[in-house]
Amino acid sequence: MSTARRITLRVNGRPAQGEVEPRRHLGDFLREDLGLTGTHLGCEHGVCGACTVIVDGVPARACLMLAVQADGAEVITVEGLAQADGTLHPIQQAFHAHHGLQCGFCTPGMLTTLAAFLAERPDADEAAIREAISGNICRCTGYESIVEAALAAGKILQSGG
């Protein structure tokens, strides 16, 4: 009863397409169909935040969006944060400098969430950053180094980096 649909979208600035069953969520489409395994799937019910991607400029849970709903959308995954020449996004540089990760499972979701959030609010203070990542669960770091990295990335972004 479920018929595959053809979808066309842009992922990390490049055209992408696929034949998807309506029940396939965007996270599985990115990983299984496009091979973009940077997006991690943790809980698949919208709690852990690991699968966060940027859809039409705003952070969203890839496990809570059907791939068919992304037809025509512009999606940025963690693979699309760095520039084409490999220069890391300020939030990636800051995660590196401040040890913002240990096991790395939550990292793609942390990076995409913070990249989108800091683009809008590079001057965000610690409380605002903690609220912004309240939907991203990390079981290693205790969040301290992640928050430090986000504050540092905000400074880089404010200075035009």
């Binding site: 019910h45 919208g46 496990c63 059907l66 969430t113 912004a132």
Partner: protein, 292 residues
Amino acid sequence: MKPAPFAYHDPRTLDELIGLLSRHDNLKLLAGGQSLVPMLNMRFVIVDHIVDLNRVDGLAAIGDRNAAIEIGAMTRQRTLERDPVIARKAPIMQEALRHVGHLQTRSRGTIGGSLCHLDPAAELAGVARLYDAVLHVAGPRGMRDVKMADWSLGYMAPAVGPDEVLTGLTLPVWSEPHGHAFVEFARRHGDFAIVGVGCLLALDGKGMINRAAVALVGVATAPVRLTAAEVALTGQAPSVATFKAAAEHAEKLDCLADAHVSASYRQRLAGVLTERALARAATRAGGADVHR
């Protein structure tokens, strides 16, 4: 953690949508998907048809009608959080939205989805109740209005038929200057509230309360208005004693018990949060600081 198969429909017009609702059974409407998709993924919900509202024209708009705000059902929570009309005329909605899920879920989540999912702790349902919102429902027999007070038919059961759809709501805003506050307690930020309280408070020229509205979420299956306290507050001077007396009405509410907390815990919390919300609203209304 994958949904069972379903047929997917993404109508472009309200007429097309209503037609689908009339033709198909065992169907769910997909708004923002931040509650429905988890339930599909976990197969708590297994349906034959998903009808996606995201591409239906005209369901996502915010209109300023002077004494009221018209809000389309598919208006995203993120949009409401940043909207200048909401900021000016119903800022309590934005204060409440900070507690609704997380940044990422508010990007997709909609006000209509919140109202139709009707979780007992839903902050936006509480705000709608606080303003005596009127909900607009479309179906094969045309449009009809439902008062927020009549919206809940029971636990997570809104007054919308299987062949109907919520298209939007009218929020009658307060014309007089007033203070507002939305406070809640949850185990972690973004969790479902154990109890949430919203209140609006207007003061007259002499600093006396001349209009009050208090609504609570999380205490019962649907948002509750604290009418007895609203009456008791009117005509009083804002003070710790006044607010403590009003909060006693909240402590008498018939509260839910669940796996997390007992009914008596909720009653106690309802009282504490009502007092806090009233104090904050009074300060914002221009009254003296009545925080303890």
